[in-house]
Amino acid sequence: MSAYLTSPLPFVLASLLFVSIALLHLTKKNAIAVWLYVVQASAIALLLLLASVHGATVVLVLTLAATVLVKLFIAPAFFFRLIRRHQLRFSASTYLNTPVALFAIAAIVVLTRAIVPNVNVALTPLGHNLLTTSASSIFVSLFLLVNRKGALSQMLGVLSLENSIVAFALFAGLEQGVALQLGILFILVIWITIATVFASMIYRHFGTLDVTEMQTLTA
């Protein structure tokens, strides 16, 4: 297991990631949701920086640079532009109200802590708290996709899921794998571009990003 993972900082960053995803369930304003995504992205960038400091490779450094550029600058710029252009100050509502959503998040965390440790021990015996926290982030991100009605929220849910998976992989000691880095770079650049274009097109057709207003399909 990578030495830097024994310090307190990775656990702080993992917790920051989890809390920002949980808060995405509660925020009512799209701008705050985007800033919460920036917080997540910063946590991931700092984790990649830590990994680079302890064992730099060209591809890892490139991944860090791309992560900072795309997640901290380009993606938020795309989202803020979408919000400004279509005046989307307030995000669409959730299917569950706040107390129920919080209860669901708590239940997800408890279940994850009960089930995931067996996997964690097999992967990295010393880092199971980090892995459990990032596994909780994965499932809370999935819940975000289900719970919120806005297309922008769904995009942030997908990107939060990706951040959580990256964090899990980093904590499992996979940061040196070219595999992880290639996957990150690809999904960042292409997916964000296409999803943002689609979100604009949806607003043009439906006059809203609330996905419950999209009821043209009968299948």
Partner: protein, 481 residues
């Protein structure tokens, strides 16, 4: 080796060249030429695989027997869909549904779609395969929203989000499978060979969790129930040639990914775990799709749900294993040919009647005689009417299944009967029906009929005769399952 590079790079070059022409004729000619090159090189590469067991091109690409079967399906149906597209798009331009700019976009995205599928099939790395399958999602999302209508936008958005989530879960499962290999080779690109050789070192709990994530993730792309909700909308809203590729080809590429990871899971855990999961998802997909098919009102959506049912049958075959796995792979070939022909025929119906609602379609035998005949043949084959090839494969799968799990085999048989009843219920009124107020008789052009004739001809012939080289390829592909 060179031909494998040619097979993979041709759609890339064709996609770039498609941006240059200023007439639909030239861009269509580029597309047809490229697909001819891909078809011929696909045949030659497959022959090489039959002779030598596999073909490699550098460190990034290689084709084994299973990959060769799926690649052959891609190039054959790709050629058919591209030839059909020439006539289909010409008719749509004549009706002023689309303009030249859209035609050019269509062909560019089509080539990128084919490129992504071929890279997914031939890549030596699980991560490159994942990236290529994600690329198919992105290119086809734009094709599904091709007509820029609210319903197609909604279908494309649903497709993009659900498949992206599914593929992220598949990515997570992939990373778990790669764990021992990455720790043994941190700098290089981990290959399928590395993953298989280190599979015995994979912790059983990790292997189970990884396979569940992979099956759920890539299974979303395959269209297994309950991850299927994007499929009927996406396949019904896309242009007909794209629907034929989505149903007849892309689902197989995603299932190939599942099979590759199944091989790894079988080494780490033994075959029972993955087989039980495939049987579960297979029978669930078959039964749910059968009930929905019976109550469908849209013929393109009917075909899409039919695809869900047939991917369930293929999964069932590989879940039962042995001769059923061989039958499952053969079923994949028959389903691909039939579904592609049926979707292309549905394109002719849409051009003639301007509606996808079943109750708006009557008297096809008078207005589209050739398309009707091919439509009937395609549906009879898909329904498993003897002596079609699909009847044989379903029989083999069920006969193996009865000895393993009679309840599952019984549920599948009931579902097949329900699907047959549903097909008769929907298709007969479309073909026959009231002659008053029918559109003008006649097919649109040879471009929109000859590809369907060829695909249907191949389907019928393959039901009675499988060449020795293809039999050898099928046996080699399914030996480990």
């Amino acid at each position: 080796m060179t031909l494998l590079y040619l097979l993979i790079l041709t759609p890339l070059v064709a996609g770039l060249l498609s941006l240059l022409p200023r007439t639909a004729f030239v861009v269509g000619a580029v597309a047809c030429s490229a697909l001819l090159v891909e078809f011929v090189s696909g045949l030659i590469v497959s022959a090489e695989v039959v002779r030598n067991g596999s073909v490699a091109a550098g460190m990034l690409f290689a084709l084994d027997p299973l990959g060769a079967v799926v690649a052959l399906i891609v190039v054959t149906l790709g050629l058919g869909a591209t030839l059909y597209s020439v006539g289909y798009l010409r008719a749509e331009v004549a009706k002023e549904i689309i303009g030249f700019r859209r035609v050019r976009q269509y062909y560019t995205l089509l080539h990128l779609f084919l490129l992504a599928m071929l890279v997914a099939i031939a890549s030596t790395s699980p991560i490159l395969m994942w990236i290529a399958i994600e690329a198919t999602t992105l290119s086809t999302a734009l094709l599904i929203s091709f007509y820029n209508k609210p319903s197609s936008m909604e279908a494309a958005w649903k497709y993009l989000i659900l498949n992206s989530v599914g593929l992220l879960l598949g990515f997570f499962g992939t990373l778990l499978f790669l764990y021992p290999a990455i720790h043994g080779n941190p700098q290089g690109l981990v290959t399928w060979g590395d993953v298989l050789s280190r599979a015995p070192a994979l912790d059983p709990v990790v292997a189970k969790v990884a396979f569940v994530f992979v099956l759920t993730g890539y299974g979303t792309k395959v269209g297994f129930v309950p991850m299927h909700t994007w499929l009927p909308d996406a396949h019904s809203k896309a242009p007909a040639p794209i629907s034929s590729l989505l149903s007849g080809v892309l689902l197989n590429v995603a299932f190939l990914a599942v099979l590759r990871f199944k091989a790894v899971a079988d080494v780490a855990l033994g075959p029972a775990f993955s087989k039980e999961l495939l049987v579960f998802f297979g029978i669930l997909s078959i039964v749910i799709a059968a009930f929905i098919i019976f109550s469908q009102g849209n013929y393109k959506t009917l075909l899409a749900y039919h695809s869900i049912e047939h991917m369930g049958i293929i999964a069932l075959g590989f879940g039962f294993g042995g001769i059923a796995a061989f039958a499952g792979l053969l079923h994949m070939i028959y389903h691909s040919l039939a579904k592609s022909a049926l979707f292309l025929a549905s394109g002719n119906i849409l051009l003639k009647y301007s509606s996808t609602k079943i109750h708006n379609i009557q008297g096809m035998l008078k207005t589209l005689p050739l398309t009707s005949a091919l439509f009937i043949i395609g549906f009879l084959v898909m329904a498993g009417v003897p002596p079609s090839g699909i009847f044989i494969t379903e029989f083999l799968i069920l006969s193996k299944g009865i000895s393993i799990n009679p309840w599952v085999a019984g549920a599948a048989l009931f579902s097949f009967v329900l699907v047959f009843a549903g097909i008769i219920k929907h298709v007969v009124p479309m073909i026959l029906g009231d002659a008053q107020g029918l559109p003008r008789q006649g097919e649109a052009s040879a471009w929109t009929t000859v590809p369907i004739v060829v695909l249907t001809g191949l389907l019928v012939i393959a039901g009675f005769f499988i060449p020795g080289w293809l039999q050898a390829l099928l046996h080699a592909s399914t030996a480990r399952y």
